[in-house]
Amino acid sequence: MSWEQVKVAREDAVGVITLDRPRVLNALSGELVAELGRALDELDADADVRCIAVVGSDRAFAAGADIGQMVEATPVDMLRADAFAAIERIGSLATPVVAGVSGYCLGGGCELAMACDFIVASETATFGQPEINLGIIPGAGGSQRLTRAIGKAKAMDLVLTGRSLSAIEAEAAGLVARLAAPEAWLEETMRACREVASRSALALRVARDVVNASQEMSLQAGLAYEQRSFHMLFASNDQREGMAAFRDKRTPEFVGS
């Protein structure tokens, strides 16, 4: 099957999914999200891909959902379409997913970026949940992930007024992990992905799991979960290799198990 609304590429151990609907600022149609899901599944299944980048264009990561598809929809239509299911599955993939954001990252686009493991953003990127302007609310995790990321004060401002955060504000508020020069955002995203991809795939998977779990658990339960996960890794080859390489002052060669 061919790709029509996304582009999929490989650069060594990094898989790159580029949202590709330039005329509509990558508005997330049902088709685009479905293709995104398919691309994520394919790259996740490829053992040689050890980090996935999801990026847009200079002008826009994604400026929202495809409104035209939703104007006349009924609740049952929306339930059946489950148009954003692929976004929710990102957290349960085996491979780390990094969002590279430039330009508009709004509504469903912001929700997609927040569902990824972390965000690298151009200093000119803008983030927002402007669904309120359309008489609705965020429907793909925005109200939940944004509030957890930046706190109630700013999240409520964004969700109630539809205003945008600059990338600088977003980084200061804890939404964006790394800022990049506007011309260099893609290069910096790939650099971050290469850094991730060079680590032990097994340790990465466990690390993502425990960090995500911390959002759902009490501190006590989270600490216990982290401990058991930590202990478990001492049965792995990569732990032996990583620690021996450190002791012997050489570069580790991870095998992902």
């Binding site: 000119t124 990049a180 020069a181 506007p182 011309e183 260099a184 290069e187 910096e188």
Partner: protein, 267 residues
């Protein structure tokens, strides 16, 4: 190849072999900027981007560069309390200054007469200012009970420091071209009436340079004015990675090694 932008009544815009010229054209109003001219200036700048110009010169028709905000519009705002000045400033001046300063090519202003208030801010938003000998500069805002806007509180102190900026803002002093030169507010003073042709001559040199490197240098300078050293060094490293991959960089290096003049395309 010359690309004209048609359908404008208060602005002229041409792009010729990479050199874009945007001219404020309301000479009967000393190029005071009303809502129409704001819209047309923004359209002109969008055209400059689309045409992939390699340098931009901004000038004003007639005896003045620009008198700034059209005061007739301000008079109307007085008559209608529902009119929000803050929204007007955001929509017009803030958008215009942001547009000029976010361009990724060198920008020159050719100032051959009085520039006042927000009209001066347009010149301040350029990277380089070429002034005719009879050009003058005035912060007119406080004389009518307003605060300097259109970026003046950021752009002017960046050039002359807070004390000289505030002196100009408090007193509304009119600076002549030579004083402006000695204060670092203009790059060159030329014979009266020749600012545009001098600016365009310099612009032609810039249009033949590696545009992407110039555009990134421009952005980096304005950004790093407000950043610390560590952040600026990191920013430069990121930009250099991009610049090193441009065709113009390759051409620059090979031309040097082959002992010939480089031919830069802006790519």
């Amino acid at each position: 190849m010359v690309a004209y932008l048609d359908g404008l009544t208060t602005v002229r815009c041409t792009v010729e072999e990479g050199l874009a010229t945007v001219t404020m054209a309301r000479p009967e109003k000393r190029n005071a900027v009303d809502v129409t001219m704001h819209r047309e200036l923004r359209r002109a700048l969008a055209h400059v981007r689309r045409a992939e110009a390699r340098v931009l010169v901004i000038s004003g028709d007639g005896a003045a560069f620009s008198a700034g905000q059209d005061l007739t519009e301000l008079g109307q705002a007085q008559a209608d309390p529902a009119l929000r000045v803050d929204d007007h400033v955001r929509r017009t001046w803030n958008a215009l200054i942001t547009d000029i300063m976010s361009l990724r090519l060198p920008v020159l202003a050719a100032v051959d007469g009085p520039s006042a208030g927000a009209g001066w801010s347009i010149a301040l938003a350029a990277d380089l200012r070429i002034a005719g000998a009879s050009a003058t500069f005035r912060q007119g805002f406080t004389r009518i009970g307003l605060v300097p806007d259109s970026g003046a509180t950021w752009l002017l102190p960046a050039l002359v420091g807070p004390s000289r900026a505030l002196e100009l803002m408090y007193l509304g002093t009119q600076l002549d071209a030579d004083t402006a030169l000695s204060w670092g507010l203009v790059n060159r003073v030329v014979a009266a009436g020749t600012a545009l042709e001098e600016a365009q001559a310099m612009a032609r040199l810039l249009a033949a340079m590696p545009t992407r490197a110039l555009g990134m240098a421009r952005q980096a300078v304005y950004r790093n004015l407000r950043e610390g050293l560590a952040s600026s060094l990191e920013h430069e490293a990121q930009l250099q990675q991009v610049a090193a991959r441009t065709a113009d960089h390759r051409e620059g290096v090979f031309a040097f090694l082959e002992g010939r003049e480089p031919r830069f395309t802006g790519a």
